[in-house]
Amino acid sequence: MTDLLIIGAGLSGLLAGVWARRQGLRTRIAATGLGATHWHAGTIDALGYLPGEDAPVRSPFAALTRLTAARPGHPYALTGEAGLREALAAFRTLLEKLGLPYGGAANPDENLLLPSPAGAPRPVYLAPAAQLAGDMSRPEPYLVVGFQALRDFYPTVIAENLTKLGFRARAEFLPIELITDRRDFSTIDLARAMDSADLSRLANALKRVAAPGERIGLPAILGLRRHGQILAALSEAVGAPIFEIPTLPPSVPGLRLTTVLREHFERDLHGRLDLGMTVTDFHAEAGRVTWVASRASARPVRHRARRFLLATGGILGGGFHSEPRGRVWETIFDLPLTAPQKRSQWFRPDFLAPEGHPVFRGGVRVGPDFRPLTLAGEPAFENLWAAGNLLADSDPISERSLEGVAIATARAAVTSLINTDV
C-alpha cells in the first residue's frame, strides 16, 4: 500500500516526495508533466516584492509581517517565519548534498540582487553557486559575453541596462564554434555540448576579451552533467569570477534543479515517479479519499494510498481550469477556490500593476495543518493535503515568491501529514 501519493511533479511535488521518502513513507508521484522550474531561472525566490510596492524587499523575513498583514491567508502566514527559515535551510542542505550547491547573500537574512536576462535587478533569496558572482553588491565591473547565433540571450541589452543602473558593464560576443559545430541549438543543447567541449579554447577566448578585474557573465549553459566541474575549471583557467545569467526558456538552471531532485527521488530513494498521468477523478468514503484515478489509454488507472498531497500548481501549473466567462475550478477534487469567478475581475487594467492580478492570487484555502478546507472551514478530507502554488493568497508573479512558497509549504505539508494518524 502506498503511504503517500503526490499529485504534481513541480518543485513542491518533487521536494515533498524527497522529504517524505526520507522519512520512510512509501511515496509515489503522479503528474501530467514536469513543472515551472523549466521556465524559471533556477533560483529560489522567497519574497522579492511586497504588494503594491516598487522597491525590492531587502530581507524576506523582516518583510513577512507586512506581507501577512496585507494577505492574512498567505501560505507564509501558515508556515510562519520559523517554518520558512527551516524549509529554506533544509533545501540548501539537500542541494549541497546533491552536488548542486545554492548560496545566498553574506547576511543570511537578506536577498541577493542578481542581473535578470534583461539586466534588471532581480531579488533572489538563494541562487545556484554558478549565479552568485553576479551579485550586484560586488564591486567588479561586468563583462557580459554572449555567443553569435544564440537566440534567447542578449548581452548588449543586459550591459546597457546594467550601465543605466550605474554599474560598469560591457558586452562581447564569441563564436559559437567554441562550444559546438551544430547548426541549430537551444540553450539545453549548448549545455550538453559544454559537457564534452574542450574548455581550454573557450577559456582562451574569454581571456582575450576580458579586461583585468572584470567578472564575466555568460548565458546559463555551463554544462548539465558536469556543471560543477565546468564552472570551477573555467573560472580557474580564465582567472576571473565567472557567473551564469539565466536565459529565455528552456532554463538550464531549472533543468539541473529538476534533474537532481528527480534522480535523487527515483534512484537514491527508490520513489516512483509517473509522468504523463493526468489525475482527473477521485473516490471518497466517510470523509477519506480512497483512490484517485488518472486518464489512460483504455480505462482510468486507480491509485490507492493512505494519504494524498495535491501539488498541481494552480492556474500556472494546470491544477485549475477555467472557462472563457471566468469560472475557475480545481480540476480533481473541485475544492473551493478563492479565485474571482468572473473574467472581468481576473485582471487589473494595468498589465504591470505592482499589486499583481487577482486571478493569480486565487487558490485553495488550507488550514494550519495544510489540509484543504471546505467553505465551512472544515478539512475537506481527512487524508488530503495541499502544497505549492495552488494555495490561496500568494501571487508568485508579483511577489517573486514562487519557489519559497513551494519549498516552505511542501515541507510543512509533509511534516503535517507524517504527524497525522490516518
Partner: protein
C-alpha cells in the same frame, strides 16, 4: 474513460502549448541530430501552418521517432507525437510512400512468407551480402537488428498442438499474440499462456491479424485502417461479450486500444468496446493481483529493466515492475533511459540508423554498467523491437517480463526460452 463526444483531434491541442520548451529539452532525437528541430517546432508550432490543400511547411517531422518523451514531460497535455504522426501521414498522402516503408509496414506479410521456410529465409536475409544489398536497394540499414524467423514453427502451430491440453476453466481470457510472437518469438506466447493458465484462466486465441501499427507509423493510414477493421470484426464480438483481451506486445495492445482509433478517427460503439476490452498483459495481471498465485521460487537475480516507450502512451505506469517486485529475490533496476532508439521501424531505416543508435546510448550504457556491477545475464523489456535493439546495442540478451514471471513459477527456462 474515453468519450467520443468530448474527443478532439490531436491538432486542437496545439492551443494548449505555452512554448515552455520542456519537450525540446527532453526529446532524444532533437538531442541526437540537427535534422530534427524538436517537438515544439515540429508539433504545435508547425501545426499552425499546416492547412488542408497547402504544401507541408516542414518535412523534418519525418524524423520524429514517435517515442512520446515529449508527451510525457509536457505540462499541458499537448498531443505532440500524435500531431507529428498525422502530419507525417499527410506527407505520405502528398508525396507517396517509399518502397522500403511499404516493406517495413508489412511485418505480417514478411512474417508469413519467411515462416514457410524459416531457415532459408533467415539465411537469405541475415547474410552479410544480402544485408548490403537490402541496404542499397531498399534503404534498410545493414547493421539494424532485424529479427529471425522461428525455426520451430509459429505460435499458432504450437497453440494447435497445445489446444487439446489447454486448461479449461470458467475464468476465460483472450490472448492477442501479434506478429512478433506469431512468427519470430513464439516462446513469448507460450510463457504468457503458461502464466495465464497458472492463474487459473482458460486462454482463448481467436483468429486475428496484424494490429496495423507499422503502417500507422509509416503514415500508411488507409492500409492500417483495413487491418484495424479486420481485427474489429474478429475481436469485437469477444469484447462485446465482456472478455478481456490481453497482449504481450505493448505496441499491439496500444494500437488496438487507442492509437488506431485516434489516428484513424474511428469512434463507433464497437471500437470503444474493443478499446475497453484490451489490456497490456502486465496491466491486467497487476489489476488481478489477488488472483496471482504466490508459489514463486526464490530467484536471486538483478534485472535491468527498460520500460518501453509505448507505456508512455498506455499511461498505466510500469506494471511489469510492480508485478516482478512480488517475486522473492528479484531486484528490478529501472533504466530511467528515454528510449532505446529503434522506435518500431525507425531505427531500421538507413538514414535513421545512426540517430537511433545515438538515442539508445544512454540505455546501452546503463545495461552495460549493470552487467559490470551485478553480473547480470539478462535485461528485460516488454516490447520486442526494443529487446532486439537492446541486444544489438549491448550484446546482452533481453527477455520479456512475462518470461521472467513464468520462470519464477518454474514453468519456463530463461536460458533456452522453452516452457518446462
Amino acid at each position: 474513460m474515453f468519450n467520443a463526444d468530448t474527443w478532439l483531434p490531436p491538432e486542437v491541442s496545439l492551443d494548449l502549448c505555452i512554448k515552455c520548451n520542456i519537450c525540446v529539452s527532453y526529446c532524444p532525437v532533437a538531442e541526437a541530430t540537427d535534422l530534427f528541430p524538436g517537438p515544439k517546432y515540429a508539433g504545435p508550432q508547425a501545426q499552425r501552418f499546416r492547412m488542408a490543400g497547402q504544401p507541408a511547411p516542414d518535412l523534418s517531422v519525418d524524423y520524429c521517432s514517435g517515442c512520446r518523451v515529449c508527451n510525457e514531460v509536457c505540462p499541458n497535455d499537448v498531443n505532440i507525437m500524435e500531431m507529428n504522426a498525422r502530419a507525417r501521414a499527410a506527407l505520405v498522402a502528398e508525396k507517396g510512400i517509399p518502397l522500403r516503408n511499404r516493406l517495413l509496414g508489412r511485418n505480417e506479410l514478411l512474417g508469413k512468407v519467411g515462416s514457410r521456410a524459416p531457415r532459408l529465409a533467415n539465411f537469405a536475409l541475415h547474410n552479410p551480402v544480402s544485408r548490403v544489398a537490402v541496404d542499397a536497394l531498399f534503404g534498410i540499414a545493414k547493421e539494424a537488428p532485424l529479427p529471425r524467423w522461428s525455426t520451430t514453427g509459429t505460435f499458432v502451430d504450437w497453440w494447435e498442438k497445445h489446444y487439446p491440453h489447454r486448461l479449461i476453466s470458467d475464468k476465460k481470457v483472450v490472448y492477442f499474440h501479434g506478429c512478433a510472437t506469431m512468427y519470430y518469438e513464439p516462446f513469448i506466447g507460450k510463457a504468457a499462456v503458461a502464466v495465464l493458465e497458472h492463474m487459473g484462466y482458460e486462454v482463448i486465441v481467436p483468429p486475428q491479424n496484424c494490429c496495423g501499427l507499422p503502417m500507422l507509423s509509416n503514415g500508411e493510414f488507409k492500409a492500417a485502417g483495413k487491418l484495424y477493421d479486420n481485427n474489429l470484426r474478429k475481436l469485437g464480438p469477444l469484447a462485446a461479450e465482456g472478455y478481456d483481451i490481453v497482449g504481450t506486445s505493448t505496441s499491439c495492445t496500444l494500437t488496438l486500444k487507442e492509437e488506431a482509433p485516434h489516428l484513424l478517427d474511428r469512434h463507433s460503439e464497437t471500437t470503444q468496446a474493443l478499446t475497453h476490452a484490451v489490456w497490456d498483459i502486465f496491466e491486467w495481471i497487476r489489476d488481478h493481483e489477488d488472483e496471482l498465485p504466490r508459489d514463486f521460487i526464490q530467484m536471486e537475480m538483478v534485472i535491468p529493466y527498460h520500460p518501453p516507450c509505448q507505456y508512455r502512451a498506455h499511461r498505466v505506469g510500469r506494471p511489469s515492475m510492480d508485478v516482478l517486485a512480488l517475486i522473492p529475490g528479484v531486484e528490478v533496476h529501472e533504466s530511467h533511459a528515454r528510449c532505446c532508439g529503434i522506435a518500431g521501424t525507425y531505427g531500421y531505416k538507413k538514414e535513421k540508423y545512426d540517430i537511433a543508435m545515438k538515442v539508445g546510448q544512454e540505455l546501452f550504457s546503463f545495461i552495460l554498467e549493470e552487467e559490470e556491477h551485478h553480473h547480470t545475464e539478462f535485461n528485460a523489456c516488454d516490447s520486442e523491437t526494443c529487446r532486439w535493439q537492446i541486444e544489438h546495442g549491448t550484446g546482452q540478451e533481453s527477455r520479456h517480463p512475462i518470461e521472467i514471471l513464468a520462470a519464477a513459477y518454474g514453468l519456463y527456462d530463461l536460458e533456452t526460452r522453452t516452457t518446462l
